[in-house]
Symmetry: C2
Subunit: 191 residues, 2 copies
DNA sequence: CGGATCGTTGATCAACTTCAACGGTCGTGG
DNA sequence: CCACGACCGTTGAAGTTGATCAACGATCCG
């Protein structure tokens, strides 16, 4: 049980043997159904989520009031509104389950205690954030460089199968264009 | 001397007293003139740069062969191609000085020794990357939400003065549009 | 079975790019 | 210290990309 997180941590750092359960005690276990809201804009963001099973998404309401998805989190991904989490300020994003999901939750106050008790976790998160930031640099590069159509092609090539896992309007929202335009691209792509 | 980095670190973590010089020995001091290249696409990216004084920029060549600036680094900022740095793979970005600059350089191999000798530096970088990633989430939000014109307005409001420090074509490149269009926006903005 | 939600299609429209041309200024060599 | 060339910012016309709006059919779920 709960092997997912421990296995993930083991890829980055070596934890002391026999203390798995004590480590897991720092986390809350959460189960959610489809379309449950885990965070809403304006709320305080107390929690960092690890997805054991399922899929979450992060989005915000853009200046026209339309939901704009900025991130998905599937198995073995962490997700939160980091600006709100770190500074303990009101969130500017929503987090919602796309599918029924099993999560582990790490609360802000608990995190500091976790680092004191397991210094290896500081190293784990250092490496995790470093990678997340690196991925973000790459993503910004794509956002600058790729046309909407190339963005679509790049996505389905990089994450084959995932496009089938989510409704099409969410994919359009994530890729940054309208469902109508996605429809047009797909038509062109088929023929 | 070199107070800038120590002062920056002190904002995130407490270093042991009297060991400043030993800490600084892990870094190389570098001075560059205007427009010197510190990293080029395809090279291995060995170094993480801290700007004590001056300004660097990161850019890539887009699919049309045009330089696309993705990041500036001024005083007290760190900069590197993180994907290439972490994985020690060929860089996909260029790093170039915008002004004559004083830098501190932390090399990849040295970094691991630094963490062993000064565990607080692991915490410093964990917090730094966490903030960088948070800022990146906010940036992606802007990239999705703001029109090019709003992007310009938002930038000069958030970083007053910086727009005067760099040539206009670099600002246009960073904001993701053509110098011609920036010119048009500025005209509209004046009147 | 019925209503709401989702994907598709086509027409019109706005934002931004591209291209070409011109004037100003900066810095470098003579 | 001057003159020349290269680079930079601006302007306007024409062209693209992708958004918006409205309408329709399909499908999912209660």
């Amino acid at each position: 049980m709960s092997a997912a997180l421990l296995h993930h941590i083991a890829q980055y750092t070596k934890l002391p043997a026999g203390e798995d359960q004590e480590l897991l005690n720092f986390f809350r276990r959460i189960n959610v159904n489809k379309k449950e809201m885990l965070l809403e804009e304006g709320q305080s963001c107390k929690t960092h989520y690890f997805v054991e099973k399922g899929c979450l998404r992060m989005f915000f309401l853009n200046s026209k009031g339309v939901e704009q998805t900025t991130q998905f989190a599937i198995e073995n991904w962490w997700i939160t509104d980091h600006m709100a989490f770190q500074l303990q300020k009101p969130a500017s994003f929503y987090i919602q389950s796309v599918e029924a999901s099993q999560l582990l939750a790490l609360d802000f106050q608990v995190q500091e205690k976790l680092f004191l008790r397991f210094p290896q976790m500081e190293s784990y998160f250092r490496q995790l954030y470093e990678r997340a930031y690196a991925a973000s640099q790459t993503r910004v590069k794509y956002l600058y460089d790729l046309s909407k159509e190339d963005h679509y092609r790049n996505f389905i090539e990089k994450y084959p199968g995932f496009a089938q896992r989510i409704p099409q309007y969410l994919l359009a929202s994530f890729l940054g264009f309208t469902p109508e335009y996605l429809s047009e691209i797909r038509k062109k792509h088929r023929s």
